[in-house]
């Protein structure tokens, strides 16, 4: 799933490790999500949204909806 995690992280000048610490996950998890190799669960997606103070839709792109629309 495409997402804006890398951009949002760069805007805040956070490293992957820093974001991982804020989320309470491993740096590998942040890297896998950022590169679109792993889609987070809904609870983790909500947590990511909370950390960036954004909605889930503002971070993750709903590719199926984009194709339908």
């Amino acid at each position: 799933m495409r997402n804006r995690l890398k951009v949002l992280r760069a805007e805040r000048d956070w490293s992957q490790g820093e974001l991982a610490q804020r989320l309470g996950v491993s740096r590998q998890s942040v890297n896998a999500i950022e590169t679109g190799k792993y889609d987070p669960s809904l609870p983790l997606a909500f947590k990511i949204a909370r950390v960036f103070d954004l909605s889930i839709e503002a971070i993750f792109e709903d590719e199926a909806a984009a194709q339908d629309g």
């Binding site: 309470g24 996950v25 491993s26 740096r27 590998q28 998890s29 890297n31 999500i33 987070p40």
Partner: protein
């Protein structure tokens, strides 16, 4: 680069290596104790002793899946376990047919667990590369 381990992974390692050491010690010490294989209850218990730490390793792997709070690392472990089991089933089934139909040498059953561990280890390495 060496990746830092999660607390659950550190616990897994601290449980896994003593069990592996116990397996090797039992494997090397039980053989010489049993002089000639006899079908007695005592011989069965003694011969089965090296397998006890392997049962422990399965329990330790299950505990890891229960204790790991990082969902991505948990998924990676489940993938490695499935690859390990898949490789084990394929290798043992194919070899079984080779034994049955082509006179291949017998594959000792106690090799199955090491085959599973090696396949799982390789799958974990592949996953690390894939998710790097």
């Amino acid at each position: 680069m060496m990746q830092p381990k999660s607390p659950a992974m550190r616990r897994l390692m601290s449980r896994f290596w003593p069990l592996m050491a116990a397996y090797l010690v039992l494997l090397l010490s039980v053989g010489p104790i049993i002089d000639a294989p006899t079908a007695s209850l005592g011989a069965y218990l003694l011969a089965g002793l090296p397998a006890a730490p392997l049962v422990g390793i399965i329990v330790v792997l299950a505990l890891y899946l229960l204790e790991e709070t990082d969902e991505f690392l948990k998924v990676r472990m489940v993938e490695a376990l499935l690859w390990g089991l898949g490789a084990l089933l394929i290798i043992s089934t194919v070899w079984g047919f080779l034994e049955l139909l082509a006179g291949a040498p017998r594959l000792p059953l106690h090799w199955l667990f090491p085959i599973f561990c090696v396949a799982m280890g390789l799958a974990d390495l592949l996953a690390r590369w894939r998710y790097r």
